[in-house]
């Protein structure tokens, strides 16, 4: 039986369950390239016959939309925000992550509890309190921490979109200017992530490298993690195509 532990009090009785899947986390700051890597990993894992589920912050059926709406008004307080995120996380843990692990899936999650902790702590929340609140979280099989510095991060972010209110810490830093606020906030966040690396066993991946290099670095570790897992019978593309009726009328 594949048993697991939680970081703190096991509120959901997860340590009694048989959870043969693998829980793999990608962490790192906003715009570091997590979602690209998750998409690549999913392609690769599924092509190799692994069943994959994926999840990420604010994707819960319960609280995702509510959290988006609450953030729009810019009136969300620090503690409220953390507990809202905890609700979102708990819903996904109970309804997505744990069922998928029971069924033997590889679960890829875009961020986990570490981003929430880092964001809370830089805003002055008691670091012990936020860890206790999220204590019901399962300890993952691997946490990949995509590292980057500000000179690499800024062009990457700005080529896709503009600075975001929350990602720039405008809710608590006293800047009127988005750029200055962003620099200060992300510097604080990166320092906080670094300080958490040892405690939570982060595997550091240098995300300033080109996308395929980053992917290969993560893939190498995951290959070892999943090598004994059940795989679906691999269907040869040619054989599959022959079995399926041809689509007409194109």
């Amino acid at each position: 039986m594949a048993q697991r532990k939680c970081y703190g009090i096991d509120l959901l009785g997860l340590s009694d369950l048989d959870l043969p899947g693998k829980l793999i986390v990608l962490e790192g700051t906003d715009g570091v390239g997590r979602s690209t890597q998750i998409a690549l990993l999913r392609e690769w894992l599924e092509a190799n016959g692994y069943a994959v589920a994926s999840t990420g912050l604010k994707r819960s059926a319960l609280a995702g939309k509510g959290l988006d709406l609450a953030q729009e008004g810019h009136t969300l307080g620090v503690i409220t925000s953390n507990l809202f995120y905890a609700t979102d996380f708990a819903d996904r843990l109970e309804k997505t992550i744990v069922p998928a692990l029971r069924a033997g899936f590889v679960v890829l999650t875009d961020r986990y509890i570490y981003s929430m902790i880092a964001r809370a702590v830089v805003r002055g929340v008691d670091p012990a309190w936020i860890r206790d609140v999220f204590g019901f979280a399962l300890i993952p099989d691997a946490v990949f921490y995509l590292t980057i510095d500000l000179p690499h991060l800024i062009p990457r972010l700005l080529s896709e979109r503009s600075f975001d209110y929350w990602e720039s810490g405008m809710d608590f830093l006293r800047h009127r200017d988005y750029y200055e606020s962003y620099i200060d906030y992300q510097s604080l966040l990166l320092a906080e992530f670094d300080s958490m690396a040892k405690e939570f066993n982060f595997r550091r991946i240098d995300a300033t490298q080109k996308i395929p290099k980053v992917f290969n670095a993560i893939k190498k570790d995951i290959e070892i993690l999943v090598k004994d897992m059940k795989r679906m019978e691999f269907v040869q593309p040619a054989a599959a195509a022959a079995r399926e009726p041809r689509k007409t009328g194109e």
């Binding site: 009090i9 959290l67 609450a70 409220t80 953390n82 708990a90 609140v133």
Partner: protein
């Protein structure tokens, strides 16, 4: 005194009422509120589960029966946190009386009745201000059930504890659930030293006790210049939360 978790004293006073459904706590709080306003105190009021920015999510979760004991607990904690951060704490810092209909003890009792770990719950709510007085309206289970169920009201799914599958019958489920909550309250009253009011006493006697206890803590509380409307109505003992809603709309 209302005090922050770090021990810092706040100038305002926080009075909270607790008790199972049918204990009469909301009625007593409303009477206290009328009296305080009549005496010229500046009074803010906060009700359990009423945050405008969290409410939508709670409603969705209840309507679609999506809430587990853990998410039920967390979303109510978020609701409480929002009211604490934006409503109760600023008012307490300003020096007003804050009245809360249900407080963290409601969460301790309900969530523990749903099987969550008591220590974790205490930790979860450790950011809450310690109230000046927390009144607990003590009523036997039979009496509260009689008061609530007399009219055979339609019980809501989570209110009746239907999510715990004690019984398929909402009334039976409600009885079992209320019994468990009452047991938790008994423990909490001891541990947290709540001020117990015998909720089987006549309404007026209970209110006399509540006012007597509250009045010991009102020195230095912010007072308000009552509006003409308000003073006229208060003079006739016609001031409370319903008329307050109407007046608020008129004024804004």
């Amino acid at each position: 005194m209302a005090t922050l978790p770090n021990g810092q004293k706040l100038p305002g006073k926080l009075f909270v009422v607790e008790g199972i459904d049918g204990s009469g706590k909301s009625t007593q709080l409303d009477l206290l509120r009328k009296w305080l306003i009549g005496e010229g105190y500046c009074v803010a009021f906060s009700e359990w589960n009423s945050s405008p920015i969290v409410g939508e999510t709670t409603r969705l979760g209840k309507k679609k029966k999506m809430l587990t004991p853990l998410t039920f607990s967390l979303i109510h904690a978020a609701d409480f946190a929002d009211r604490m951060e934006r409503q109760m704490l600023p008012a307490l810092k300003a020096g007003t009386v804050v009245l809360a209909d249900r407080y963290i003890y409601t969460a301790f009792a309900r969530d523990a009745a749903r099987g969550l770990d008591r220590q974790w719950l205490k930790r979860l709510y450790s950011f809450a201000v310690r109230p000046t007085v927390a009144f607990y309206f003590d009523v036997p289970l039979d009496e509260s059930l009689k008061r609530i169920l007399a009219g055979r009201p339609a019980l809501k799914y989570y209110e009746a504890g239907m999510d715990m599958h004690f019984s398929e019958d909402p009334y039976q489920s409600f009885e079992v659930f209320q019994g468990l909550i009452l047991n938790e309250y008994k423990r909490i009253v001891e541990e947290e030293k709540l001020t117990v009011i015998d909720a089987t006493l006549p309404l007026v006697e209970q209110q006399d006790l509540v006012r007597e206890i509250a009045s010991r803590h009102l020195k230095g509380v912010l007072r308000t210049e009552p509006s003409a409307w308000r003073s006229a109505l208060t003079g006739e003992a016609l001031y409370g939360r319903y008329i307050d809603e109407v007046l608020h709309k008129k004024e804004s």
